[in-house]
C-alpha cells in the first residue's frame, strides 16, 4: 500500500509546529497504525532525519498511552479501538492520512504528536480513589454484596483507559466523559459512597481548573471512545454533583 502521510511536526512545546508530508510505500493491511509509523521512523532514521515522536506503550489497547488524531478523528476511523489496534486495512492504497496530536489547552504539545495528559492524573488525584485501611485488616471487597447491575455499570466505567480521545473528539475539548467515568466507577459501589460528596466536588473543580471546556452533550466523546464509555456516566456525575452541592 502506498500512502501520503501529513504529520504534525513540532520541535518542542514552545516551537511553532506544522504539517509535513511524507510519502510511504510497502505498507501491509495487517500492520497496525503504530507499526506503520515505526516503518516511517526507520526510513527517517536511515536518512539521518529526526523520527516522529508519538506515545505508545502496551500496543494491546489497554494502557491508554497511544493517542493521535487521524484524519480528523481520535484513534482514527475505526470504532472501539485505540490507535495501536487500528489496522492499516482501514485505509486504501493512495490515501492521504493527516496525523495530528490531540488538541486541547489542557493537553499541551510536548513534541510532535506527544501531548502532556497529566491534567487527567491531577483530576484522578483530586478524588478518583477509595480510602481503605491497608494495615493488615483490610476487608475483602467481595465480602460486601453489590447489586449485579451496579457492579456491571461500575466495571464498564472502570474500563476507561484515560487516553483522552473524549477530549480530542469534543468540539469544546471537554473532559466530562473521562471525569464522569472515574466518578461513576466508585459512585456505584458501596465502598465508594463514603467519599462520594467530596469526590465529585473535588474532581469537577479540578477538571474546571485544568481549562477543559464545558460539555454540550454532542455525544462525540461516546462515539470516539475506544472503550465505549457511555454518556450515562455524565448524567450520573451531574446527578452526583447536584446532590453533593446541595449537601454542602
Amino acid at each position: 500500500m502506498k500512502l501520503t502521510l501529513k504529520i504534525w511536526r513540532q520541535k518542542n512545546s514552545k516551537a511553532k509546529g506544522e504539517l509535513k508530508t511524507y510519502p510511504i510505500d510497502g505498507i501491509e493491511g495487517d500492520m497496525s497504525f503504530l507499526e506503520m509509523l515505526d516503518v516511517l521512523n526507520e526510513e527517517l532514521i536511515n536518512k539521518g532525519e529526526e523520527p516522529v515522536v508519538f506515545d505508545h506503550d502496551c500496543r494491546e489497547g489497554i494502557c491508554g498511552a497511544c493517542s493521535l488524531q487521524i484524519n480528523g478523528e481520535p484513534h482514527g476511523p475505526d470504532r472501539l479501538v485505540t490507535t495501536c489496534q487500528l489496522h492499516m486495512r482501514m485505509f486504501n492504497d493512495g490515501d492521504t492520512i493527516v496525523i495530528e496530536p490531540f488538541r486541547a489547552k489542557a493537553f499541551p504539545v510536548i513534541k510532535d504528536l506527544v501531548v502532556d495528559r497529566t491534567s487527567f492524573e491531577r483530576i484522578q488525584q483530586a478524588g478518583g480513589y477509595v480510602s481503605v485501611n491497608t494495615s493488615g485488616n483490610t476487608i475483602d471487597a467481595n465480602a460486601i454484596p453489590v447489586n449485579k447491575q451496579d457492579a456491571d455499570d461500575s466495571f464498564n466505567a472502570a474500563t476507561c483507559i484515560g487516553c483522552g480521545a473524549c477530549v480530542a473528539a469534543c468540539k469544546n475539548a471537554s473532559a466530562m466523559l473521562f471525569t464522569a467515568a472515574k466518578v461513576s466507577q466508585f459512585a456505584l459501589l458501596p465502598q465508594g459512597k463514603v467519599e462520594a460528596t467530596e469526590r465529585v466536588l473535588n474532581m469537577v473543580a479540578q477538571m474546571d481548573k485544568e481549562g477543559f471546556g464545558n460539555c454540550t452533550n454532542t455525544g462525540a466523546c461516546e462515539i470516539e471512545c475506544p472503550k465505549g464509555i457511555s454518556l450515562e456516566n455524565i448524567a450520573r456525575m451531574n446527578r452526583e454533583y447536584l446532590s453533593a452541592s446541595l449537601k454542602g
Partner: protein
C-alpha cells in the same frame, strides 16, 4: 460558590432556562394557532395576555429575564469552550460523531436571537407604544387584524419561516440535551427523546404553517 460557577452548574442553568423557554413556546404556539381556527378566540386570548396583571407584570418579566439569561450564558459558554482548544485541528470530522445541530447551537441560537429582534420590532414594541405611550382606548378586536398585517409581506413570512427552521434545529438538540444535563438518563430516556424530537419538528412546523396561512389569507 462552586454550585454557581462550575461547568456542571452552567450546564444545569442552560438546561433549566431552556426548558422554561420550551414551555413558553408551547403556550405561544397554542395561542397563535387559534388565529387559524377562530380569530375571535385569538383576539380574546391576546387581550387577556396583554392586560392580565400576572401575565404582564410577573410572567413577562420572568420570560424576558429567562431569554436574556439563556442567550448570555450561551455566549459565555461558547467563548469559554473556544478557549479550551486554542490551536484548532487541520482536519476535524465532527460529522462522523455528532449531529450538525448539536455542534452549531451558537449558530441556530444567533439566528433565533436575530429573529427575536425582528419579532420584538414587529409586535412587542408597537404593543408597548400602543398601550402605554399613545394610550389608545381598549379595543379587544384589533389583534387579529394587526397579526394579518404583519404577514402581508412575503419577505417577512419567509424570514419568520427560516427562523423557525433554525429553531427546530436548536430544539432538536437542546430539548433532549437539557435532560441529560440535569442528570436524567435512564430507561425512560429513549421515549423522552422521541417526544423531544417530535416537539422539535411539530412546534416550529406549526409556526411556519400559521405564518404561511396568514400570508395566504389576506
Amino acid at each position: 460558590m462552586a454550585i454557581l460557577t462550575s461547568s456542571i452548574a452552567r450546564k444545569v442553568a442552560m438546561a433549566l432556562s431552556g426548558l422554561f423557554l420550551v414551555i413558553f413556546l408551547a403556550q405561544h404556539f397554542i395561542i397563535n394557532f387559534t388565529s387559524v381556527l377562530d380569530p375571535e378566540t385569538f383576539n380574546s386570548l391576546s387581550h387577556f395576555m396583554g392586560h392580565n396583571f400576572v401575565v404582564q407584570f410577573i410572567a413577562q418579566p420572568i420570560l424576558i429575564i429567562g431569554v436574556i439569561f439563556h442567550f448570555v450564558m450561551g455566549i459565555i459558554l461558547e467563548i469559554r469552550n473556544r478557549s479550551a482548544r486554542q490551536i484548532s485541528y487541520k482536519s476535524y470530522k465532527g460529522n462522523k460523531n455528532s449531529s450538525w445541530a448539536s455542534r452549531n447551537m451558537i449558530i441556530s441560537g444567533a439566528v433565533i436571537l436575530a429573529f427575536l429582534g425582528l419579532h420584538f420590532y414587529d409586535f412587542w414594541f408597537p404593543e408597548i407604544v400602543h398601550k402605554y405611550v399613545e394610550s389608545h382606548p381598549v379595543d379587544e378586536t384589533r389583534y387579529y387584524t394587526e397579526l394579518l398585517q404583519k404577514f402581508e409581506s412575503p419577505v417577512r413570512t419567509g424570514l419568520y419561516s427560516l427562523s423557525f427552521v433554525l429553531l427546530a434545529l436548536h430544539l432538536w438538540h437542546g430539548f433532549s440535551s437539557s435532560f441529560q444535563s440535569m442528570g436524567w438518563n435512564n430507561k425512560y430516556s429513549k421515549a423522552l427523546q422521541g417526544f423531544t424530537k417530535f416537539y422539535a419538528i411539530f412546534i416550529p412546523l406549526g409556526f411556519i404553517f400559521i405564518a404561511i396561512y396568514l400570508h395566504l389569507n389576506q
